[in-house]
Symmetry: C2
Subunit: 373 residues, 2 copies
Amino acid sequence: MSSDGTRRRDVTVADVAKAAKVSKAQAARALGNYGAVSDDVRERVLAAAEELEYRPNELARSMNTGKSNTIGVVVGDIENPHFGLAMRGITDTAKKSGYNVILINTDEERAAEVDAVRVLLDKRVDGLIVAPASSVETSHLQQVRESGRPLVLLDRAAAGVDVETFAVDMGRISYESTLHLIEAGHRRIAFVSTVRTDAPYVAGMTLDSSQISDRLDGIRRAFDDAGFPHPTDLIRLNAGDADSIMRITRELLDGPDAATAIIASDGLIALSVVEAIQESGRSIPNDVSFLMYDDFAWTRLTTPPLTVISQPVYDMGIAAASALIRQIEGRKAAGPGPDLVATLIKRGSVGAPKDAEALLPDAEIAGILPDRW
Amino acid sequence: MSSDGTRRRDVTVADVAKAAKVSKAQAARALGNYGAVSDDVRERVLAAAEELEYRPNELARSMNTGKSNTIGVVVGDIENPHFGLAMRGITDTAKKSGYNVILINTDEERAAEVDAVRVLLDKRVDGLIVAPASSVETSHLQQVRESGRPLVLLDRAAAGVDVETFAVDMGRISYESTLHLIEAGHRRIAFVSTVRTDAPYVAGMTLDSSQISDRLDGIRRAFDDAGFPHPTDLIRLNAGDADSIMRITRELLDGPDAATAIIASDGLIALSVVEAIQESGRSIPNDVSFLMYDDFAWTRLTTPPLTVISQPVYDMGIAAASALIRQIEGRKAAGPGPDLVATLIKRGSVGAPKDAEALLPDAEIAGILPDRW
DNA sequence: CCTAGGATTGAGACCGGACTCACATCGATT
DNA sequence: AATCGATGTGAGTCCGGTCTCAATCCTAGG
């Protein structure tokens, strides 16, 4: 056991003061390094503190400074390396400025998120970084706003919550990527996401995730601009666990009207989609083309290496934390934040569809492609 | 900006009490759900609280209960999915029991870890889960012990720190895996780890990481039992970033005495090793066999899928958090914890070495293999 | 030598809850 | 009707710091 007889009560300033034979106020001043303290007193206090192994109680300190030097982070799933990396950016930045991080995982459940936000507010964090599970039901975030506590959003925007948001322009990159697929000859392009919806997808509908809405918009615009109909039957939302994703993938690839290309909405989905493709005996990109969000290191290791949409996740974490801390400390924004742009990294998983003879790299498509391509 | 004129000072029990026309004590009782309160008072107080949107200040509460309902977690690298998953186990478990988690990343730096522990102690966390960067220099962990605050170790043991530790038996699984490679015909088996050492490796030396020491012991024992000399020249520690790992891998595969099999000490190392192998134009397992720690989903996606050592990381997180919370709440261990055993999952990345004609599946080896193989 | 003004210092209030203690209140018991 | 135990209740203390304020100490200028 630990007990060496004495049940060690924490050493407080009062104890140090007594040992140094000064008033509590003086001891506190010497320890806290504020106010006026004579060298003599300071020395005695510091010596006593050392001797007694005094450690300040941050809780008490926070109580009357009103600052906890802690920021709360609410994400859907840290198990997802996407958030793991963002988290890294956040903690690295926080540490540099002397802040700690309380992390709460919501499993992408709004109820859990509401709870998380409340708990963090109750714990008097100095500010919050939230990756909102829903971009629509955001009353709890508005409440944060009203509480006056700084708030910053990560990864996704939230309707009616006018705060700094650190996310990439999904519409743009989605458009660009879809065009890339269309240019390769694909018309039957599927999109698989775990975002939950009650109603089936229709163009322009409001989804719980602004991110996904934006991506779908990008896809639609690409098809529109290319002059082809957008195959909305291939939009698969509500993809849940690994099994369900694999099932969906098999469905997508079966039948006369099968998809010729699949876009996976995140790294976790990608794993199951690729696994299902491989299991079905199909090859990428000969039988199916594949494109995914997030450039994880392992995407270079598959055969062929995967074409991905790289997002500056670590930088997003840094930017979010920096901005939050700036707000906490009441400083004005020095300038526009860093450009958080996603880029399409073309590797080997996108090729021409099998029935490629049906199409040609027509001027019609080439015409709409930006010059830099 | 946010100010609607009033600089909203937090609503306190005193405010609620006044609004409900009762004493502060009564309001506190009604709100905190303790002591004796008449129905009438309770109703009025709760109504007033609702009206004023009262929220308790957890800091204040923690101050005089001495409980913060927060546990501190110190890991080397949250970006590493290994810890991401463990973290998930921890947060899931903590949430169930009403605890929050403060996460600190140490970058595997001991100084940062010492700091982290101190900060968390100062913040009066109720307990700590640490994945110690060093299994040797553990004075800061002993101090935690002395402070009387519950402590639990994750992933790695620490010398002189007698607390519950949740890690798999690395010696056993390393032995088993090495035997698997030896049985396949390998004699030149390399091991790549990022663990830092000053001196070059010699058998039995003390490393900063008990985990790696145990693995190396396992390898050595396997070679001993199989009756072959352990090629210590292929033990590569101090592997740093991706570039350095790739360089090391190339060295390992070059020359007349090249390695015929490589064991990667974790998922991050594995990525670079495999990339280097592929880049060098070699194929797995025809030119090199490969084995790695941690069964990440992507390891099934490479060609061939990789043979891995699966660790119950999520369960380790759960077990660690459960045990810690049990200690915090002063309960005795109900029984032995769950068995945290690693298993070798044989997939396609281990084959016979190229010069396989030199050897045969001799009885000598078969003899030492456990029956269940 | 005297005094103004800055440097030191200690007492005590305060942050926002939890909790102790002494003092009602009240129905039930005998 | 007097008594007793079980509630109810409010005043006030405490947790461990920060910070205000008035008092005291010095030292240099006059």
